[in-house]
Subunit: 226 residues, 2 copies
Amino acid sequence: MHRKHVKVLEDVLDANGTIAAANRDDFDRAGVTVINLMSAPGAGKTTLLERTLRGLEGMRAGVLEGDVQSTLDADRIAHLHVPVVQINTDPGFGGECHLDANMVRSALPSLPLEQLDLLVIENVGNLVCPAEFLVGEDYRVMVSSVTEGEDKPFKYPLMFRACDLVIVNKIDLLPHLDFDLDRYLHNLDAVHPGVDRLLVSARTGEGIEAWRDWLIRTATREPAPA
Amino acid sequence: MHRKHVKVLEDVLDANGTIAAANRDDFDRAGVTVINLMSAPGAGKTTLLERTLRGLEGMRAGVLEGDVQSTLDADRIAHLHVPVVQINTDPGFGGECHLDANMVRSALPSLPLEQLDLLVIENVGNLVCPAEFLVGEDYRVMVSSVTEGEDKPFKYPLMFRACDLVIVNKIDLLPHLDFDLDRYLHNLDAVHPGVDRLLVSARTGEGIEAWRDWLIRTATREPAPA
């Protein structure tokens, strides 16, 4: 069979890809840069966002929160007076362990896209399935907490390979853990050689400025400093 | 429609339930007590097992390890000279984010069930889908790390409701976290009132003796102390 035919057939069958492309078109039309933020449960995505959004001067940011249940995260972000929408995968979407393009699409009418420079989509806490579903994002960022151990790149390789940036979070806890940072970074490079990484503590604020710079550079499409 | 007919139809359609029941029969015949151990990635399941199995005198234990990729966990357990089998959900099972009854069944011929008193099935690190799939276990135990935050029972309610015991791990880190243990336990009781819980540090060994007692009592079907 001709290779190209197979490719076309796969594209036709991929409903998620079709909807993700439609989301992309909407994001591009509105001129908004979209980050798909992923991590294991409790790695600190929401705390990181709270820290980050407070000091993002001149950038208009919005957040789409994904959780199986509750509006706890959206409530925390709403305190910052940032446009935020919560998607619960439980009642409407069968308790899914990830966001997909259609869930994101269902939330777009509730967000003032035209008034945003940056939209962060905080995915469901899970290191497996979220990496399998494009939602129309420009960049995929994962938060990897040092409390989770050095072996995680090998155990969840798709997630670590799928991301454009790894935020190594909770580094304030390093003195209290049996965690070898060099070995972790070695493992990370074995799975995704040279991937961008930032060492951060969302709790103390260490490294947050570099992450804000990354976001601003990304949203304004400026090249990285040499 | 008669209610009972609907029930029977559901049972027929639930292939996972059918296979889980077959696993149960095999476990019962062999006289082995089976624990399905679940948690988020990096909550400390394997470190907990390493600590626990070292001192389980008089009990013959085996372990079935579930991961998307790698044999890192099985290698760690094998050092303890305990029968262990690794299931990788990636090559054989489409990268699944959980173990199901059929995956467990596929591993049973590799385990000396007749020579075991206790089998621990360490599930894939994930707080959503593992709770949806019975595998034939007697008890479901979840490990919940204090580094993950107080809100997790509300965000992953099915997991916290599905378990018979919650092991609250990494309590050695409490002095270094903004984590209110009382509030967490309150949240836990709101989601699963009165569920058994043990405060543990797999790293320092604190609380491990109580968890060993729980396992021994459970495997020998002794009633809990009044």
